[in-house]
């Protein structure tokens, strides 16, 4: 079964949601910054919000069709939804939460289904506990089990795992994949974390300002971003205006001079002639940093510079290095300590040709 959705909805006076996409069985990431319209897409699919126009269908099952006046009530849609805050019923045990959607079944059948799904999601030992008594990961598993016990034809996940560490995240997703292997329903997973996209998705839809910006595998969408907004979402921090100086078709590369300085970078060849203006994107984590001038190194770009500032944010040390242009560089705390880095220090930046991407400035 494949989800096909065309949704148009006016969210604010100057913000229009206008998307057209499909989601095959398996996990499709709906990826975008906050305010891009991701959650509204889910709410339209679940029936909490009526789009102004469009059509939503899972296979032959039409959930919404503005043209024919079809708009199924959420309870008739056979759609599972895991809310960002999970929305577990706090006054019901884990078992009662999972039971809740099975009201039409006899008690015995409910017990069997509840036991089966609880086993699949490894919470069978928690059935008589209150949601307030179990861990965050266990609550996520309970919310998934509650949504899936009714055998929905579509599962919607609204940033359900953003509060968990990576290991718990991927364990839960593994269990979800295992459960879905036999059923093959589309799972639409909303996130703004590009790390989750790499780790979890088979297919990515990038949403920006209420429209689909790009679509494809995580590698296609995040490793070769075509546009600057998409590149920002995909975790590129450095953007430079530059002019093409020379093109080397045999090496598949070209040299570009950054605007406002005489720094040149060798970048992958793009469809551009010498003299053309381009925009170059570089991930802060893809830049190597040396405290003495590197010798005999394969990377084509070595720039001398000086550390302007450095600060630690979680497990990342963020440095700004003035090397003609200002580069943002991310290091691990261990690397930063072993190089004994400090603001004002002289350093060399090492950037591989293929760490540089040519992006277009407009979507």
């Amino acid at each position: 079964m494949t989800l096909r959705a065309t949704i148009r909805a006016r969210l604010a006076r100057d913000f229009q949601l206008d998307v057209d996409f499909s989601a095959a069985p398996g996990i499709t990431m709906l990826f975008g910054a906050s305010g891009s319209g991701k959650t509204t897409v889910l709410r339209c699919l679940a029936g909490f919000r009526r789009p102004d126009a469009g059509r939503v269908a899972i296979g032959e099952h039409v959930l919404f069709d503005a043209g024919r006046g079809v708009n199924l009530h959420p309870g008739q849609r056979n759609v599972g939804y895991v809310f960002q805050q999970l929305a577990l019923f706090p006054h019901m045990t884990v078992e009662q939460n999972i039971h809740y959607g099975l009201a039409s079944l006899a008690l015995d059948a409910r017990r069997v289904k509840t036991q089966a799904i609880a086993t699949s999601f490894r919470i069978a030992h928690l059935l008589d506990r209150w949601p307030g008594e179990i861990s965050g990961g266990e609550r996520q598993r309970t919310a998934l089990a509650r949504s899936l016990v009714t055998d929905p034809a579509l599962l919607l996940l609204d940033e359900p795992l953003s509060a968990l560490d990576h290991v718990s995240q991927s364990r839960i997703i593994e269990d979800l994949r295992t459960w879905n292997a036999a059923r093959g329903i589309p799972i639409l997973y909303v996130t703004h974390a590009h790390r989750e996209v790499f780790a979890l998705a088979e297919h990515v839809i990038v949403l920006e300002n209420g429209t689909v910006l790009a679509e494809g595998t995580p590698e296609e969408v995040l490793e070769a971003p075509a546009h600057e907004p998409q590149a920002r979402l995909a975790g590129f921090e450095n953007f430079f205006d530059a002019t093409v100086r020379s093109v080397r078709p045999d090496a598949g590369s070209m040299r570009c001079r950054l605007a406002g300085c005489d720094v040149e970078l060798e970048v992958p060849r793009a469809r551009a002639e010498p003299g053309a203006r381009v925009r170059i994107a570089v991930r802060a984590g893809d830049i190597l940093l040396a405290n003495q001038e590197p010798q005999g190194i394969s990377a084509r770009n070595v720039l001398a510079g000086m550390i302007v500032s450095m600060q630690r944010e979680g497990a990342t040390v963020i440095l700004f290095v003035q090397a003609g242009a200002t580069f943002e560089v991310h290091l691990t705390p261990g690397a930063s300590e072993s190089l004994a880095l400090a603001a004002g220090q002289r350093v060399w930046l090492v950037i591989k040709t293929h760490s540089c991407r040519i992006v277009s400035t407009r979507a």
């Binding site: 679940a46 029936g47 909490f48 009530h73 959420p74 309870g75 849609r77 759609v79 599972g80 939804y81 809310f83 805050q85 929305a87 019923f89 706090p90 006054h91 809740y100 959607g101 009201a103 039409s104 209150w130 949601p131 307030g132 008594e133 179990i134 861990s135 965050g136 509650r146 009714t150």
Partner: protein, 224 residues
């Protein structure tokens, strides 16, 4: 001690409380979830008895149920006697007087129920009624109990409205607070003291029972 007045007052309070619960729940539901733009007018009307002097409310009720009003005449045709200075008239006046004490705590509790719980319930196939009974009521139970207790206690102790609408007829409209007033007026301080003490102890017992009963087992431990 005026046992007749005590029995009458408890009967009045129970009838008013149960009736208010029946009409208060839908009103509170509507107030909590309606998005009608003129909703504030209804809110103001419901809250009016909170700020009106009891004599003003009592005066209007007396006018409304008197034999010159359509309501009073209809009642007389139906039952053969008027509403003013009867127990039924007292019930009607008390319903109006205590309405906000039932509706406001419940409406406030309803509107604090997380909207995503209601959405989750409807997505899991529940009707509005089932969501109301299984999700909204249990999560608002403290507000509901508060509404019941407040409106009961408020009816128990009302004075001005009773005097205006019911007068002071033993066994018909003489409530405890009027009995105490009478006793004090007649210099029967001993009897007044006994009646007042009984009311005090009763109120304390009810409130203690309510607070003991509304402890939620599921909110005692919470790991975030």
């Amino acid at each position: 001690m005026d046992w007749q007045a005590i029995g009458l007052t408890v009967r009045l309070a129970v009838i008013v409380c149960v009736t208010l619960l029946v009409i208060g729940l839908p009103i509170a539901y509507w107030l909590a979830f309606s998005r009608w733009r003129w909703k504030f007018l209804v809110e103001a009307v419901v809250a009016l008895p909170l700020v009106l002097p009891p004599t003003v409310l009592g005066f209007y009720v007396l006018m409304a149920i008197g034999l010159r009003s359509p309501i009073g005449r209809a009642w007389e045709r139906w039952t053969g006697h008027g509403l003013a200075f009867t127990f039924e008239g007292l019930v009607l006046a008390s319903l109006l007087y205590s309405l906000p004490f039932m509706v406001q705590p419940i409406a406030s509790a309803f509107s604090q129920v997380d909207a995503s719980l209601v959405e989750a319930s409807s997505l899991l196939g529940s009707s509005r009624w089932r969501t109301f009974v299984r999700i909204i009521i249990p999560l608002s139970i403290e507000g509901v109990i508060t509404g019941i207790v407040l409106s009961f206690a408020h009816t128990l102790g009302e004075f001005g409205v009773v005097l205006m609408v019911g007068g002071n007829l033993p066994g018909v409209t003489r409530t405890v607070s009027i009995a105490i007033y009478d006793q004090v007026q007649g210099f029967q301080y001993g009897a007044a003291n006994a009646t007042a003490l009984l009311l005090l102890l009763f109120s304390f017992a009810v409130l203690s029972a309510v607070y003991a009963l509304t402890r939620k087992p599921w909110s005692v431990t919470r790991i975030s």
